[in-house]
């Protein structure tokens, strides 16, 4: 009997051991052999049809220049980028280097998920552009370096619109007159599925009509100026001059195919638009709203606090900041700016004369965050977008929607 028990005990222990091994056998791969540290750099732009392959080639240049550090690209789609990467970072995992958008950057910095850069990168060596760079520092601690700064402007089909509108009324009437059959005068994001994109779009209407999400201390979501700006957005929606229900990927393709006359977009999409249709004749002008203020996509590159190779990750950032690499990055990103001041080449200006339009907007461009409540921006964004869409759908009038958003967001931040 005791022999029997021993056999059973051995069999049981073996079974348990196998199960335990299966459960715990997913250890980390760690650094590669041969003394080479392998890093991952996550950015949604790696998946862009126009810029992605060029950015990957730019990374390859870094890899060729190094014998101890190698960086590989991780393309995470834009709509789920923040959620995916923040979830990984929250659990102490994730890529070593991340290109964030501002709302997620602020949330991650506030939660201590981003490594401070002050001791890793000596920024005094570089000629950083001050306006966007000021948002990289919190309470005297630097959390990021601008990877891309992209101002919003009005893209228009030059075949359909020989002279771009310069006032909101002209903008409205141009959109209306162009809308016929399967051609739409304008396109913007208006579905809850694209919450982050809707926020980027309505930002231009709010700030372009003199509004703001906050005064730095208190939220001002339901201010009269915001109401005016968002009413302009809703009027365009109600006028049926946009392809309703179309997501950004769809209406941007429509723009490239000449089916959409205008859209407010950032400089990053110049390359992508050309990539979709090299023959499209399009140009860019400042957004024709009463106040010259518009959003800017500020995309910092940061080092994950959980990374075991921070110094190696900083090696990449230092390499990226070198003047010749900044120029190459600038050329890849097209109408966007990079961290440092770079001179646009004569060829680039000849090929894309409206690059200067984007550059001139830098001083009046703002990151799409709620000033004073930076880390809470994703939560405030959700509340605002849900209520604005409720107004678009006619569930409630716009003023009540903004009052409700103000109340809900105030509860969130208090």
């Amino acid at each position: 009997m005791s022999r029997n028990r021993t056999r059973l005990g051995i069999a049981g222990a073996t079974a348990l051991g196998l199960v335990a091994a299966l459960l715990t056998g997913c250890g980390s791969d760690g650094d590669a052999g041969g003394g080479v540290t392998k890093l991952t750099f996550a950015a949604s732009t790696f998946g862009d049809p126009g810029r992605g392959p060029k950015l990957t080639a730019w990374l390859d240049e870094f890899n060729k220049s190094q014998d101890k550090v190698q960086v590989s690209a991780a393309a995470v789609p834009y709509p789920t980028f923040g959620q995916t990467v923040l979830t990984q970072m929250g659990s102490g995992q994730g890529p070593d280097l991340v290109r964030f958008d501002m709302p997620e950057f602020e949330a991650a910095a506030d939660a201590g998920l981003i490594a401070p850069l002050d001791k890793l990168v000596d920024v005094s060596k570089y000629d950083l552009i001050k306006q966007p760079d000021q948002f990289m520092v919190h309470d005297g601690v630097r959390h990021g370096i601008i990877f891309e700064a992209s101002n919003y402007a009005m893209f228009y089909n030059a075949d359909l619109i020989p002279t771009p509108p310069t006032t909101y009324d002209q903008f409205f009437s141009t959109a209306k007159s162009l809308t016929k059959g399967d051609v739409y005068g304008l396109a913007f994001r208006q579905t809850e599925a694209e919450e982050a994109g809707v926020w980027q779009d309505i930002f231009n209407y709010v700030y372009g009509f003199g509004g703001a999400w906050s005064d730095g201390k208190n939220l001002t979501i339901n201010s009269p100026e915001n109401l005016k700006g968002l009413q302009a957005y809703k009027d365009l929606y109600d006028a049926n001059v946009i392809p309703r229900g179309a997501d950004a990927a769809t209406f941007r393709r429509m723009f490239a195919e000449g089916k959409v006359g205008m859209e407010l977009n950032n400089g990053g999409y110049v390359t992508a638009t050309r990539g979709q249709n090299p023959n499209l004749k399009f140009s860019v002008a400042p957004i024709p709203f009463p106040v010259r203020k518009q959003g800017a996509i500020l995309a910092p590159i940061v080092i994950n606090e959980a990374s075991e190779a921070k110094e190696e990750a900083a090696t990449f950032i230092r390499w990226a900041l070198e003047p010749q690499n900044q120029i190459k990055l600038q050329e890849i990103l097209g109408a966007s700016s990079v961290a440092t001041t770079t001179q646009r080449s004569a060829e680039a200006l000849e090929e894309t004369p409206f690059l200067t339009v984007f550059d001139e907007l830098t001083e009046s461009s703002l990151p799409q965050i709620v000033l004073g409540f930076e880390a809470k921006t994703p939560d405030i964004r959700k509340v605002v977008v849900q209520n604005v869409i409720a107004a678009l759908q006619g569930k409630v009038d716009l003023k009540s929607a903004l009052d409700r958003a103000q109340q809900q967001a105030t509860e969130l931040v208090s």
Binding site: N4, R7, L86, T87, N240, P243, G245, P378
Partner: protein
């Protein structure tokens, strides 16, 4: 233990046979050893996460710092039940589940009755019916979204052509039409399963009983009610429970089609849970919503068992 006794070889045989060492299969621990892997699996992958979720629901925990949680007692439950949006979510969940059960079982029954009749090409029809069930949920959601697309969708074009077009064209962005569109897609995917299961149940209906009912002068409806329904009733009950549980848990189809929008029109419990956990990054509230889902599922299962027992007793009488 009864099983163990039954599987043992008769003692007389053992005595008369060649002398061997005691078989490990004969030990009283054998059943436990066989059960251990399954029990361990359930413990590790079901019980531990469930216990963790119960604990989480009493804490304020954010996704960005999940290891730093603060005990808040019933605050999360207080908050979600005090939120009119959550009550709306419960209502949408209720409507979605009921419509799915009625729609999937009802349409499955109609199709099963049709497929149970003899006609040319029945074999092909039976095979074709299973296609939606075989299609991956993600593919179904993407195809449906494309078909309902405001600009290029075939459904929209058809509705416009017959004068029933939705104003603006965006069915999935309309709070009025989004839920019916999601429901239609869900039922389209579910009905093959219910029809195939019900078809097999229908084939177990004794033909002589049907014939006897017809000879007695019963009409089609009376025959169905008195004979067919009595045979397939337990299967319908089982399908209703399965459809309820599956509909309560369904995520990918709704998420891919509408993400719970517009304005919460298709936001069911699981969508709300996901939004709380990954959009709002509030793991505590998400866990509390999850617990509400668990309780609802338990009520459904217990309720169905009680109903089934009552029906059995009724039948015995």
């Amino acid at each position: 233990m009864t099983v163990l006794e039954r599987t043992r070889a008769p003692k007389t045989t053992r005595r008369s046979g060649t002398r061997r060492g005691p078989s490990p299969l004969g030990s009283k621990w054998t059943p436990y050893l066989f059960l251990a892997p399954a029990a361990l699996f359930i413990l590790v992958f079901q019980a531990v996460p469930l216990a963790q979720e119960v604990y989480l629901s009493f804490t304020r925990t954010t996704l960005l710092n999940p290891t730093r949680s603060q005990w808040v007692g019933l605050d999360n439950y207080d908050r979600i039940f005090g939120d009119p949006d959550f009550r709306h979510t419960l209502l949408i969940t209720f409507v979605y589940v009921i419509a799915c059960v009625v729609g999937a079982v009802g349409s499955g029954l109609v199709v099963a009755l049709l497929l149970n009749k003899g006609f040319r090409g029945r074999g092909v029809a039976r095979a074709l019916v299973t296609v939606p069930w075989a299609a991956p949920g993600i593919a179904v959601a993407l195809i449906a979204t494309w078909m309902l697309n405001a600009q290029y969708g075939i459904v929209n074009r058809f509705l416009d052509a017959v004068g029933l077009g939705v104003p603006g064209g965006a069915i999935l962005d309309s709070p009025r039409y989004a839920l019916p569109a999601v429901l239609a897609t869900t039922i389209w995917q579910l009905f093959p399963f219910t029809s195939v299961v019900l078809l097999s149940a229908l084939q177990a209906v004794p033909q002589d009983l049907n014939e006897a009912a017809t000879v007695d002068g019963a009409g089609r409806w009376a025959t169905f009610r008195a004979v067919t329904w009595q045979v397939i009733k337990p299967t319908v009950g089982l399908l209703a429970v399965l459809m309820t549980i599956w509909s309560l848990r369904r995520f990918e189809l709704i998420w891919l089609m509408t993400k719970g929008g517009p304005v919460g029109a298709t936001e069911t419990l699981v969508i709300d849970l996901y939004s709380q956990a990954f959009d709002s990054k509030e793991l505590g509230s998400a866990a509390a919503i999850g617990m509400v889902g668990v309780v609802i599922s338990l009520i459904v299962i217990t309720g169905s068992r009680l109903v089934a027992r009552a029906v059995e007793k009724e039948d015995v009488r």
